[in-house]
């Protein structure tokens, strides 16, 4: 038996080392996460301009009033919401469907997964660049659609028409991430006990019934995770819109919130207003994460 005092010293020693090991993390996240977010909130109350020599002045909620009263901001909210919805529905449905199909295959599962996942490996900018050429008026997208629809020689104006350019950004995104979310779903399906399916087959349940009565309900932890991940990813979308607009596509229709923050800060040099948008985006995503946490907790309890 050790005397109590020795173990007390050991205890104190251990605790000191615990702090020593975690200190780099505390310093880092303090400097590069907590300070900046507080700074963004703080700056949103000042008329701060990049490159301006005048000291920033406190203007209360004026930035918020200006941003919330500007058509430009609401257009960005619209663009982001349209993009998110337009990506969410096909991305979720397709990846779930593909996952169910792949999970029910005996052979070539790995091959299918690899093929579907491969675009996710690419950089977002590379993905957008490939599609920039595919969506060219003379490109493959027009040729393919015209072949399927039997309308030779029609230009769908993928990158020049306001509505079409939004569709184009959604296509790029769904294409890039469908394999990634398929694999998440496959992992989720793999966790469903085989015996449940066996029992269902004995009871005479067909594949459609098995999907709606077993797979879908038991997959709920994964569906919640995937939903929130798609939402959060879509809210942060930037690269595709940036490349397309730099290459000449109209900005308005695809001026998503991140693109707007970037342009407000770097082109208009208005840090105050950019910070307002950052703060609003942060609060919105905080809400989303909260929802995610609540749901995932409940699932843990249920299972």
């Amino acid at each position: 038996m050790k005397p109590a005092s020795t173990s007390g010293v050991l205890e104190r020693n251990r605790s000191r080392w615990g702090w020593a090991f975690t200190a780099p993390g505390l310093v880092f996240f303090g400097l590069f996460s907590f300070y900046p977010i507080l700074n963004a909130i703080w700056t949103s109350f000042f008329n701060k301009k990049l490159l301006s020599l005048r000291p920033p002045k406190f203007i209360g909620f004026q930035n918020y009033a200006r941003v919330l009263g500007s058509e430009d901001f609401w257009n960005s909210v619209r663009a982001t919401a349209v993009f998110t919805t337009g990506v969410f529905v096909p991305l979720f449905t397709l990846s779930l469907l593909l996952a169910v199909f792949i999970a029910s295959r005996k052979r070539f599962r790995r091959l299918f997964q690899m093929a579907l996942y491969s675009p996710a490996v690419l950089s977002s900018v590379v993905a957008a660049l490939i599609w920039l050429l595919l969506l060219d008026p003379r490109g493959l997208a027009n040729q393919f659609v015209n072949l399927v629809a039997g309308t030779p020689g029609v230009d769908r104006r993928w990158l020049s028409d306001g509505t079409m350019v939004q569709v184009s950004t959604m296509i790029v995104y769904v294409w890039k991430y469908v394999g990634y979310f398929t694999i998440l779903f496959i992992t989720g399906i793999g966790k469903i006990p085989e015996s449940v399916y066996e029992a269902a087959v004995i009871d005479g349940a067909g594949p459609v019934q098995r999907f709606f009565r077993i797979t879908l309900p038991l997959l709920r932890p994964t569906t919640v995770l995937v939903s929130v991940m798609i939402l959060i990813q879509c809210l942060k979308t930037f690269s595709t819109q940036y490349l397309f607009t730099q290459a000449g596509a109209p900005v308005g229709p695809v001026n998503v919130i991140t693109l707007n923050i970037y342009n407000t800060a770097m082109r208009d040099l208005n840090l105050g207003r950019a910070s307002v948008m950052s703060t609003l985006l942060f609060l919105f995503m905080l809400g989303l994460t909260w929802v995610q946490l609540r749901f995932s907790r409940r699932d843990e309890v249920e299972l």
């Binding site: 003379r138 840090l271 910070s275």
Partner: protein, 287 residues
């Protein structure tokens, strides 16, 4: 997986065939743009935007790759930018693995007053997306005079909360007896970490390294803010500039894309068993 389909009825066989057709079609459609990229990178611009498109190059033009590397104005800036991307992405991969294991180890194996709070604080930063803090971070960088420097490109990403979480979860299962035995032998805590813990963090560390590398390889937003000078740009920013130039050659564009994708494809196919296995994938798309 046999029982998942069970005994097949005629209707199910038909359904299964339809499912297979759907799967095959989806895979083909997904692969088309990649095949296009590879093929077009060897074609003259005129052939790329020709109707109807021919998948196999009629005239081969490997000079596209030369043009891609030399750039539209022939200053070979792409080479420099590739080097920048390699430097930035690998430094971040190394530091993320090292620092995350350090902090993760501290949180996994040391119970001290406030350790729970520290853990929660670090996890809370996952709720602060980079996009919302990039402007203040940019201002800090300017204030410190770190624009157009490797430090400016690297420092904000030295580690991340996901990495800490991953390493903590991994190291929490590390047998404490080994650590205690080393302590009794008089091994100092830093040495225990270096010689025993870090050396045995293999699989988790490798996953984290690849994910961090890929994530930075893809990073456009931050280099766009911080690197104004051409020499300090990274690949994504170079690609945007290259593609937006009026006289950009489509073949060279695809060559640029292929070059940018080679390292990440090599990593992915080399380590595909980790990526398709499950857990690692959960974060691959995190930006």
């Amino acid at each position: 997986m046999t029982s998942r389909l069970g005994a097949l009825r005629p209707g199910e066989i038909l359904g299964s065939a339809a499912a297979l057709a759907f799967l095959a079609a989806a895979c083909l459609l997904v692969l088309v743009p990649l095949v296009f990229m590879a093929g077009a990178s060897f074609m003259p611009a005129l052939d790329i935007l020709k109707m109807p498109y021919r998948w196999i190059p009629q005239t081969w033009k490997p000079a596209n790759y030369l043009r891609a590397l030399a750039g539209n104005d022939g200053n070979w800036m792409y080479l420099r930018n590739i080097l920048n991307s390699l430097i930035v992405s690998s430094s971040i991969a190394v530091s993320t693995v090292f620092l995350s294991s350090l902090v993760g180890y501290g949180l996994a194996k040391f119970r001290f007053k406030g350790s729970q709070v520290v853990f929660l604080l670090i996890m809370a930063t996952m709720m602060i997306p980079f996009e919302t803090v990039m402007i203040p971070l940019y201002m800090i960088t300017v204030k410190l005079g770190l624009q157009d420097s490797y430090a400016g490109l690297i420092v904000p990403f030295l580690m991340n909360a996901f990495g800490v979480f991953l390493m903590r979860q991994y190291l929490i299962t590390f047998p404490g007896e080994i650590l205690d035995a080393a302590r009794i032998d008089g091994c100092s805590e830093p040495r225990i970490f270096r010689e025993i813990v870090f050396r045995n963090a293999g699989p988790a560390a490798a996953t984290l390294a690849v994910l961090s590398f890929r994530q930075q390889w893809d990073n456009l937003l931050w280099p766009l803010l911080v690197a104004q000078r051409e020499e300090m740009k990274t690949i994504p920013a170079y690609i945007v500039k290259f593609a937006a130039e009026k006289h950009a050659d489509e073949g060279a564009m695809m060559a640029v894309a292929v070059i940018a994708s080679l390292p990440v494809f090599a990593l992915f196919f080399g380590l595909s068993k980790y990526f398709l296995g499950g857990s690692a994938v959960y974060s691959a798309g995190k930006e």
